[in-house]
């Protein structure tokens, strides 16, 4: 077969190329640029090599922020995934209840992040907020602006409220794609409810759950707006997760070099975890 050479075809590629360059490659390269240099403003740069990377990787501040971040992500995944599956299992499969449930479930997802933060801030205020006031009224000494434990509790509760729906909707879609014949087969075998869940529903939901865990991991690992509005990272640094700490460093202290290095390390952690997790989950799929 003879190939005709048509150089004009390149013009069709150019728009995508430019788009990707502007929204991904160029900003990323700027960060890479900053991460190896020191700047004092006025466009004066000095080469620093890997100094900022070493500094960040060895700094206690980064370790603490990373630790808090991992703990936070771990806790919310541990709550949201089982809770999401659980809610999806109890949702009706037909009738008027379906749209009602779906709309109710979608609501939190439609609210902008900063509004969620502001809502929960007011909701949890110990003197006027419904949650904070009620908790104090029944005898808990609750004050999320001053006590780290309470701040964590509120942040986690907020995230669970905001994002469990996503897991619910994905799981619900996964459950609905299971043919009724599977349930009948299990019924004929006399399989228990648990066995039906464990050996039919869970394996059939594997793909959507992988997706749900990945999405929730990425989102929670990069969480910024909601805790920023809710606690501002406080009290002290109690809820200063990676993003919050990063912004403090970059904009608060104007340490552009270390902040850039931290951004890159942060980026690679997210990438690495996603890759490892995805390859593990999909290991068996590739085989078949």
């Amino acid at each position: 077969m003879n190939k005709t050479i048509n150089q004009k075809a390149w013009f069709f590629v150019v728009p995508v190329f430019v788009l990707v360059a502007f929204n991904a490659a160029i900003p990323l390269m700027t960060v890479v640029n900053y991460s190896f240099q020191e700047t004092f403003g006025n466009n004066v740069f000095a080469w620093e090599g890997t100094r900022w990377f070493k500094q960040i990787l060895l700094s206690e501040r980064f370790h603490d922020a990373l630790g808090r971040q991992i703990a936070f992500t771990f806790i919310i995944l541990l709550i949201q995934i089982p809770l999401g599956i659980g809610i999806a299992l109890t949702m009706p499969k037909k009738g008027w209840g379906v749209p009602v449930c779906l709309i109710l479930m979608s609501m939190p997802l439609l609210i902008p992040w900063n509004v969620v933060g502001a809502m929960w801030n007011i909701f949890a205020l110990p003197d006027i907020g419904f949650l904070g006031y009620s908790l104090n009224a029944i005898g808990f000494d609750f004050n999320f602006t001053q006590q780290p434990g309470d701040a964590w509790f509120t942040t986690i509760l907020m995230d669970v409220w905001h994002w469990t729906s996503l897991v619910v909707l994905l799981s619900y879609a996964g459950l609905n794609s299971i043919q009724p014949a599977y349930y009948q087969a299990a019924e004929i075998d006399g399989a228990s409810r648990w066995a039906t869940f464990r050996y039919i529903e869970l394996p059939k939901m594997k793909k959507v759950l992988t997706l749900a865990i990945l999405l929730r991991f990425m989102d929670s690992f990069m969480i910024y707006t909601e805790p920023f509005v809710l606690t501002g990272g406080g009290p002290g640094n109690a809820t200063a997760f990676l993003s919050i700490d990063l912004v403090k460093m970059a904009l608060g202290q104007f340490d552009l070099g270390p902040a850039a290095a931290m951004s890159l390390i942060y980026f690679f952690i997210v990438l690495l975890v996603c890759w490892v997790f995805y390859s593990l989950m999909m290991k068996n799929e590739v085989k078949s």
């Binding site: 014949a181 087969a185 019924e187 004929i188 006399g190 399989a191 050996y199 869970l202 059939k204 078949s288």
Partner: protein
């Protein structure tokens, strides 16, 4: 052992899915439920299994009223059109699963699974997961799961419908042998008359939630009680025409075809049903009559030729052996096998045969 439905009726909302039905299935029989999609075959099977409760009526099994008895407590198994296996289990674990739940000891499980796997040609695949198998093998696994537990009632709901032609032919031939020396009642639902003929046993023709006729498969085929049953049990669809008879002469109402017949029925008007394979491009049988037609469509199906043609106001279908090329619009001559005509009276009941 017998399964009996007594006046079983199923309504969902205001819709009736099954009209009051009586049927008795005997021990060691294969019973085909033959009817088109949505005729109620699946509903009927689910009621038989106890997966679904009838709105009214009773189900008796072995002289015991099992209406409303939970399916787990009835010794039944079912195979579906979709290949239903536990996705995370290997083939071995899948086949063993019904036995494990009932607490059979592991040596016996091993033996029984091995036996069934061999019967269904799965021995080499016992360590694989269902999604590593072809559709045919997945369905074999599902069949093995149904066979392994010595059920009293085995329900097969269009088990071959999702298989491609070759696998389907292969499995269809094996099926009747699988049940040969088993103490059970087999119910097999299908939309295809050829499946029923191949499987033999008994057949119930079903239309729109009603059992039209139940009996030995060949009897139902050769002597359909009425026109509806004949229509259900004919693919390609049966040719139906109105005729008048006087003396030993019969003719189509439009006088286009005339033949001698020795059927012992009164003179008058009747309907005849002619199966497509009784209209051929060559003479078949001792007693044939010519019909002229204008070809509408001519198509090949395997080694058979389907010719759709018009004669008078009616469209006809003929099915001949071999490759018979006809051009669209061509005027052609075909032969009808008079001995195979089915005669129906004004109430659409079969009055005589041949």
């Amino acid at each position: 052992m017998s399964l009996e439905l007594k006046n079983v009726e199923k309504k969902v909302g205001i819709e009736t899915h099954i009209y009051p039905t009586n049927i008795k299935l005997e021990k060691n029989t294969i019973n085909v439920l033959l009817g088109s999609t949505l005729a109620g075959k699946t509903t009927l099977m689910q009621i038989m299994a106890g997966l679904d409760k009838p709105t009214s009526g009773e189900i008796w099994f072995n002289g015991e009223n099992v209406t409303g008895k939970q399916v787990q407590k009835r010794n039944v198994s079912m195979v579906y059109q979709q290949f239903i296996n536990y996705p995370s289990f290997t083939v071995y674990e899948n086949i063993a699963s019904p036995l494990k739940i009932t607490g059979v000891n592991s040596d016996e499980i091993k033996e029984r699974v091995g036996k069934v796997a061999e019967l269904l040609k799965l021995s080499a695949m016992l360590d694989k997961k269902p999604d590593e198998l072809s559709g045919g093998q997945q369905q074999r696994t599902a069949l093995a799961r149904a066979l392994v537990k010595d059920s009293d009632l085995i329900l097969l709901d269009e088990p071959l419908a999702n298989l491609d032609f070759k696998l389907r032919e292969e499995l269809r031939e094996e099926l009747p042998k699988l049940f040969e020396d088993r103490e059970c009642i087999v119910v097999y639902a299908t939309t295809e008359p050829s499946d029923a003929l191949m499987i033999g046993g008994n057949t119930a023709t079903i239309l729109e939630g009603k059992i039209i006729q139940y009996g030995k498969t060949l009897d139902v085929y050769n002597r359909p009680e009425n026109l509806t049953s004949a229509k259900v049990f004919s693919d390609p669809p049966m040719n139906i025409a109105e005729i008048s008879k006087s003396g030993d002469t019969c003719k189509l109402i439009d006088n286009s075809v005339q033949w001698k017949s020795n059927v012992k029925i009164k003179d008058g008007n009747y309907k005849i049903g002619i199966r497509p394979h009784n209209i051929t491009t060559y003479k078949e049988g001792n007693n044939t009559v010519e019909i002229n037609g204008k070809v509408l469509i001519s198509e090949l199906s395997g080694s058979e030729s389907l010719i759709h043609f018009t004669n008078g106001n009616l469209n006809w279908v003929s099915l001949s052996n071999g490759i018979q090329q006809k051009n669209i619009g061509e005027n052609t001559k075909l032969f009808m096998n008079v001995d195979e005509f089915l005669y129906f009276d004004e109430n659409n009941r079969l009055v005589n045969h041949g």
